[in-house]
């Protein structure tokens, strides 16, 4: 056996269950891969060898004692640094929370631990998840494993890069406006935003409470589904009042298309597929996706999402308002950085001025303005109206198909500093924010490398609300078709990192 980066989550779990590998061996190899690779990448803000080895030892002890193993027993995973895990620091990529020790563990993380997964550490992100490039991390950006001069995307850039570079088998991200799907696309891995209310947000440091979802990043659709099963299969979380009781068998539709009772119907939205600013490589990836889905027996139906163009404006209004509110608690009184001053008001101002980076300040100022009594009706109320229209559009469209095919990102990975204009950066969320507004599940599926850029390209599939299992089934069909056509691994580890460290015992 070679490197840990060759194994899927399903592969690790079965190798450990069969006794071919011990969990400690896998954890040790994963930690070794991180130490060999992460200096170039900076995917991790904190690596937790003690927690990893302790969790791995517990798995091995259970196996030795003949006790049942969890479905992810021994699978190494990385955690975005906005998810709380006791024994780690949770900084959200911000000076404001530098050195902040978690006081409790997020439900999503504890469910992964309960499934036997092994925590490797916390991954880099745009500060408080405000960004699409990881450049807004206060602790320096993460690099794209396919081209170190380029961004990994964001805000879950560290998690996407860690999986793409073989520094983790699975990773948890959070997606408020595309923060899982866009970096997954730029790094060539699978990234899924589940339906709103599927995964508990308890312990996820909130950005936009009505938009945030925790979700998996993985190298195969099946791994993503296994991860989601661990995250949400246990049902709603009594600690998160927004979790729902929707069906939770996420592995139900992963089998070959021949098993499906009816051929797939895929929705095509010209407004999205021919959008301005969509680059040639992404366009060709989408037409490739159409072909391989057709090969899998899918039929296509043309649809419209008439309010799609208003999504970005509505999203930035709502997300900024919620961010303003959620980040108000960072005042330096109870936790995090504090800059002293003679009065409380001054202390609050100075602490926040020093603790937050430019993008975090911009979003909060925007939110504070939009929620002010003068602006509320004009912007916030209007944005909520658009939000309802977008949800109605998606619901109507998805009553006619199994999934909508769309881009995840308008471009492949871009260079550092290339998008310094925030409005241009916001525009890259065009294809992703609609699902956050409407609550629909969506997944980015990697489709190899673009012929012009040589960088990962992808397609996004959007599913009906609370039918995440069906969406995963469509994603599996796309992945299967792509694999057959390219005779390649679904999501290969970036070559520059493949096999560097992480060797497993023979």
């Amino acid at each position: 056996m070679a490197s840990v980066d060759q194994l899927t989550a399903a592969g690790v779990a079965s190798a450990i269950a069969e006794g071919a590998l011990s969990a400690v061996e896998v954890a040790t190899a994963a930690l070794d891969a991180i130490s060999a690779r992460d200096a170039d990448l900076h995917a991790y803000l904190e690596v937790t060898p003690d927690l990893a080895l302790e969790a791995a030892r517990r798995v091995d002890e259970r196996r030795a004692a003949g006790e049942p193993l969890g479905p992810l027993a021994g699978v190494p995973f990385a955690i975005k640094d906005n998810l709380q895990l006791e024994g780690t620091h949770t900084t959200c990529g911000s000076r404001m929370l530098e050195g902040y020790a978690s006081q409790f563990t997020a439900t999503a993380v504890s469910r992964m631990l309960a499934a036997g997964a092994v925590p490797l550490g916390k991954t880099n992100m745009d500060e408080f998840a405000f960004g699409s490039s990881c450049e807004a991390s206060a602790f320096g950006p993460t690099r794209n494993p396919w081209d170190l001069a380029r961004v990994p995307g964001g805000s879950s850039g560290g998690s996407a890069a860690a999986v793409a570079a073989g520094e983790a088998t699975l990773a948890l991200g959070s997606d408020t406006g595309g923060s899982i799907r866009q970096p997954a696309s730029l790094c060539g891995v699978v990234g899924m935003k589940p339906s709103y209310g599927t995964v508990s947000r308890y312990g996820l440091v909130a950005f936009g409470s009505s938009l945030d979802q925790v979700g998996p990043l993985a190298r195969t659709v099946r791994d993503a589904a296994l991860c989601l099963q661990a995250l949400a299969g246990g049902g709603p979380d009594p600690l998160d009042a927004t979790t729902t009781g929707a069906p939770r068998d996420f592995l139900a539709h992963l089998g070959p298309a021949a098993d499906a009772p009816e051929p797939l119907t895929i929705g095509l939205v010209p407004r999205l597929l021919e959008a301005e600013g969509l680059d040639a490589d992404e366009k060709s990836a989408l037409s490739h996706a159409r072909h391989v889905l057709a090969d899998q027996g899918a039929t296509f139906v043309e649809l419209d999402l008439p309010h799609a163009d208003a999504a970005i404006a509505a999203y930035y209004a709502i997300a900024s308002c919620e961010a303003f509110s959620n980040l108000a608690r960072f005042d330096g009184v109870r936790f995090g950085a504090q800059v002293g001053a003679p009065t409380l008001a001054e202390q609050t101002s100075r602490t926040r001025a020093a603790g937050f980076g430019a993008e975090a300040r911009r979003r909060q100022l925007l939110g504070a303005y939009l929620l002010s009594s003068d602006a509320y009706e004009r912007y916030f109320t209007q944005a909520q109206r658009i939000r309802r229209s977008i949800a109605a559009d998606l619901s109507r469209a998805l009553s006619r198909c199994d999934a909508i095919l769309a881009p995840a990102s308008p471009t492949c990975a871009f260079g550092f500093g290339e998008r310094s204009d925030p409005v241009r950066m916001y525009a890259s969320d065009l294809f992703t924010v609609g699902c956050n507004l409407a609550g629909n599940p969506a997944i980015s599926v990697p489709l190899g490398l673009g012929p012009q850029s040589g960088l990962p390209v992808s397609a996004q599939l959007i599913g009906a609300c609370h039918d995440d299992a069906r969406l995963l089934g469509v994603a599996a069909a796309l992945e299967r078709g792509h694999g057959a056509s390219a005779s390649a691994e679904p999501a290969p580890v970036a070559p520059a990192f493949l096999g560097r460290g992480g060797e497993l015992p023979a």
Partner: protein, 520 residues
């Protein structure tokens, strides 16, 4: 002396509104987390990630708190909204862990109710239009106060300022924060400015307090802060189309403070208006020691709390079934109870109202009437029907509270029976009660054991009276000459003769009977 309120109110109409905050102390846990409610616990021992506002923590609404507010609304004639939402109200202050308060927006759990309160004849003088209002039985009047809304919100943490005078923030070197109180479920009731006098405001708070106690949603302690009252008042000419400029006073922590602060404000504002000056819209603080209000801050502009619906909390949905179930579970409210005591049990209004107002007294009263007497009734000594004892039982409960401990229902019943049978004087009853309240002993047994039972045998006492009269010629002559006070001396003689166990009332009656007959 300053001008009387009633004279001012003959020139100016006061419009008084109240905001009443009630901690739902009867609940077990906080509004948004599972921490237990505590009042005197060590600081910061009843806290968790949610009520500390730690990053990543999420709120989950306490269902019981929602139901308590809905029940209160039903008791106060409000409509229970089938769908309402929690909102976030933002302001930066360390007593609010998240820097926003979870409260409700334009639609509260309860909207638009009203209550009727009764004012007595004395306070009727303060209200020039009292004769036009519905009269109350004792010469007072009844007025109706509209309730705008009742909503649910979380309480703030408690801050303790150290180093300044009297714990004030001015001059303090540092402040300590106790988050035990943070997240305590708080019900806020807002009434329309329908109150016209400070006495009405006090009466309304009394009425609300009694209703909430009967509902069992809170201990309603003004001193401990589980019931807090903010009052606002403005003056305008009667029938003016608009209200005047109002001032608000926060945290009036006693009924007296509420009344006196409003009375002060009425005088202060009237003096300004009479002098042709304007009232400035202010938040003012009542200082009980100097008996005046001082300006805390002047509202130049509207505070922008950036309210918006809380995305972490799903809408509060209350079905028709739940509303009907809550309505059916409402207890008899103090006003109804008091009316029943008067009409069915013959209590006087004063005792009826006092007992009905206090759930502990009311349950003691009803339990005492329900007690089955220990000695079985015989044809010679039939048990007194409970209804005939009701006024005596009420009298014992209201007027004979023990110095220590409290009486059990059976003890109350027994004392009442002794009084009813004239086996005990009222003065003796007080001593007996003080003796048996801490021990739980049966009063009848105590009375017998200590030889206190009064002799009310008419024939025995009559012979004593005859003996005393026979040897008191001087006093008899004085009585006949018109000095009826000598009866007191004669009663004393009879008591001495009978060895203290004679019934003085009966002696008195027998003496007068004979003296008046002989004199005729």
């Amino acid at each position: 002396m300053s001008e009387r309120i009633q004279d001012i109110l003959s020139r100016w109409q006061a419009s008084i509104g109240l905001e009443v905050h009630v901690e739902l102390t009867s609940l077990e846990t906080k509004l948004l987390c599972g921490c237990t409610l505590s009042r005197n616990a060590e600081p910061n021992t009843h806290v968790c990630p949610v009520c500390l506002g730690l990053p990543g923590a999420l709120p989950v609404a306490n269902r019981e708190a929602v139901l308590a507010v809905a029940r209160t609304g039903l008791a106060l004639g409000c409509a229970v909204e089938r769908r309402s939402t929690f909102w976030r109200k933002h302001y930066f202050y360390p007593d609010m862990a998240k820097n926003f308060q979870t409260t409700q927006g334009p639609v509260a759990i309860c909207m638009g109710g009203s209550v009727e309160v009764e004012l007595d004849a004395e306070t009727a003088r303060e209200r020039p239009d009292a004769p036009t209002l519905r009269p109350a039985p004792d010469g007072g009047y009844v007025t109706r106060i509209r309730i705008r809304r009742i909503h649910l919100e979380e309480d703030a943490a408690k801050m303790v300022h150290v180093g300044g005078a009297e714990g004030r923030i001015a001059g303090a070197t540092h402040s300590l924060i106790d988050y035990n109180r943070a997240g305590t479920p708080l019900m806020e009731l807002v009434c329309e400015p329908d109150l016209r006098t400070p006495a009405e405001a006090r009466r309304l708070v009394e009425h609300l307090r009694q209703t909430l106690l009967a509902l069992g949603v809170s201990d309603c302690s003004l001193e401990a802060g589980s019931l807090r009252v903010d009052a606002n008042v403005s003056l305008a000419r009667a029938h003016a189309p608009e209200l005047g400029t109002k001032c608000e006073m926060k945290n009036l922590n006693s009924l007296k403070s509420l009344h006196d602060a409003l009375a002060f404000e009425v005088r202060r504002q009237a003096a300004l208006l009479d002098a042709g000056k304007a009232v400035r819209q202010q938040t003012r603080h009542w200082e009980p020691t100097s008996r005046r209000t001082i300006a805390l801050r002047t509202k130049e502009a509207f505070d922008d709390y950036r309210l918006f619906p809380d995305p972490d909390l799903p809408p509060i949905l209350i079905s028709d079934d739940v509303v009907e179930r809550l309505r059916a579970s409402l207890p008899e409210l103090p006003a109804e109870k008091s009316a029943r005591y008067v009409s069915q049990l013959g209590l006087r209004r004063r005792e009826a109202r006092m007992i009905a107002a206090d759930p502990a007294l009311a349950s003691l009263f009803e339990a005492a009437l329900a007690v089955t007497p220990e000695t079985p009734a015989t044809p010679e000594a039939p048990a007194t029907p409970a209804r005939d004892l009701a006024t005596t039982v009420a009298n014992v409960i209201v007027n004979l509270r023990p110095a220590h401990g409290c009486l059990a229902a059976a003890q109350v019943r027994s004392i009442a029976q002794l009084l009813h049978d004239e086996a005990l004087t009222f003065a003796q009853a007080r001593d007996v009660i003080d003796a048996v309240a801490p021990t739980g002993e049966d009063p009848a047994r105590y009375v017998d054991a200590h030889g206190l039972r009064q002799n009310s045998d008419r024939e025995e006492l009559a012979s004593v009276v005859d003996d005393v009269l026979a040897r008191s010629e001087d006093q008899v002559a004085q009585y006949r000459a018109g000095n009826t006070k000598v009866v007191g001396h004669l009663i004393g003689q009879c008591m001495r003769e009978a060895g203290a166990a004679g019934n003085p009332k009966l002696f008195s009656a027998l003496l007068r009977e004979r003296l008046d007959a002989q004199g005729a």
